[in-house]
Symmetry: C2
Subunit: 292 residues, 2 copies
DNA sequence: TCTATTTGTGTATAGCGTACACAGATAAGT
DNA sequence: ACTTATCTGTGTACGCTATACACAAATAGA
């Protein structure tokens, strides 16, 4: 139901070129309507064609082709022509499956997110479960570094995106938080994981393009090291010269305790701090009614 | 010094089209060299021309033109032609200032970051100082939502980027952390702020394009609300139906305490948890030698 | 069987980043 | 002052992108 809108020629809603005025690009309501349309395309499945010839592939196949291109060569290589070629199609044939590239990418992103790994063993405490979730998410992001490259922002949230949220809510289901606090804890961890994985993602992408770890580390490190002896950055300079002068083998800087912290350990350090704070908050809550 | 490399025609290092093989796109070492070149362009100032006519504008002017375009119309509007037109130039004239668009964007990003606001009053505790820093960073990101739109990742870190790091190190200078821990605390807060500002940034961009808060909230909320009554998302569904069935006026969900939490308050909630955890870590450290 | 509808194709277009050659302007060396 | 090497901005051109549009073949309901 609600499959056919009656309108014949929807006149794709991308910016209509506006040849006269290049100042007013906010087409008043069109943009908000756009968001709704994108979301609809992600969620609704078209109700079976009817009359014409069978499509040669499924939308799922198109998405898989797009993903495998992005996986191999990065987001820049993900062009309509590349996808079409991989499917043995003309470029324009793709527009029978998705109305534009944005819609194809929306679908590819959600498919690429995948679903979080199913925890099968016995349930452990919320803290361990959250840590598993965070690691799984980070691993997923690093496995598909092109997701972080997306220039399309505020993409609609598809089924898989929601499934990651659902999985997180499972991890803290028994922690005794209010519904609102659950959502805010989710936002906090979700935000931390996304934001703190940038470096690891950048490394993953570099490696997937044939750059060695050493080359990457040297490039990133040499940026930082420009601070050394620059009077604008006395504290940074002091830290960088305090032990090893630059990026060490494993991580930007060694940790207290002698052994250098790896990049993953730095991530876990921050995650542990955040979870410490959440734990303290949970402990501070009045013990409500401890039902079962 | 080190200004002229002697090489005449550097033969710009973008992918050389590779007409025969479209499989090997990792030009072995070229990519790592690229990173270095980008960094150099960001940091080194060309040593004054010599012989020819005076440039009509400065590199700074070009960057300002680029920023004002992105500020007004978003990253997609930032084209070489638009920048040139705003300066009264031909498109190709820009290539006398920056070797390619990527370099112009690198410079624009760093300039757009700006420097963190100078704290003039008396120094307060590290925790308050870190909070100020986080708010300043979040405000800056929301003021320039196109920064989050950047498809170019792993951009080199310029002077302003470092200045934000330096400012953070000031906030925790007296907290008694080891150099390594300082860097990891910095990474954690930096990551949290960046990752947790996504929603606010998305809103800022929508608003700057003429979408009202209500329209935006409805679009984002309706995505979430697809979870309701979907058997795949029982927990999410329960939360969404527990109080207000969707996104409220202020924030995704109301907070415990009756009044709904605003989006900014949700951000602060997560930040406070993280800082609680950091505080606990600091308190757990052996008191070393309390010098002054 | 007829016919409405849909698929994949072919062709065309506007806009993008940018390579290249050139004319005029400028300063260094004479 | 004159020459000349060098740098600036311009004009033109190219390949690539997303995608609008018209069409032929294929299919299913009438």
């Amino acid at each position: 139901m609600a499959a056919r809108t009656g309108q014949k020629n929807p006149k794709t809603s991308t910016a209509p070129t506006v040849p006269n005025s290049n100042e007013s690009n906010a087409s008043s309501e069109t943009n908000a309507e756009d968001l709704r349309k994108r979301s609809r395309l992600l969620w609704e499945t078209q109700p079976r064609p009817g009359r014409g010839p069978r499509p040669m592939v499924s939308r799922e196949d198109v998405v898989q082709a797009a993903i495998s291109i992005a996986d191999r060569d990065g987001l820049a290589a993900l062009t309509m022509q590349a996808v079409a070629q991989r499917l043995g199609f003309t470029t324009m044939a793709l527009y029978r499956y998705f109305p534009n590239k944005e819609a194809l990418i929306d679908a590819s992103v959600d498919a690429a997110l995948g679903t979080p790994p199913q925890r099968s063993g016995p349930r452990e405490g919320w803290r361990k479960e959250v840590t598993y979730w965070a690691h799984a998410k980070r691993t997923m992001l690093c496995a598909r570094p092109w997701l972080a490259e997306l220039p399309f922002v505020a993409a609609p949230h598809g089924p898989n995106w929601l499934s990651w949220h659902e999985a997180f809510l499972q991890t803290i289901a028994e922690a005794g938080l209010s519904p609102e606090d659950k959502m805010d804890v989710l936002s906090a961890v979700h935000g931390y994981v996304g934001g703190s994985s940038d470096t690891a993602i950048s490394l993953a992408r570099a490696v997937s393009r044939g750059i060695t770890f050493e080359q990457w580390a040297q490039a990133v490190g040499s940026d930082l090291c420009r601070a050394i002896d620059d009077p604008r950055y006395p504290l940074l300079s002091a830290i960088l010269t305090s032990k090893s002068g630059g990026i060490s083998e494993q991580s930007p800087l060694p940790a207290r305790g002698g052994r250098p912290r790896t990049m993953d350990e730095s991530f876990d350090f921050g995650l542990d701090r955040l979870l410490d704070g959440i734990e303290r908050y949970i402990d501070s809550l009045p013990p409500a009614n401890p039902a079962p």
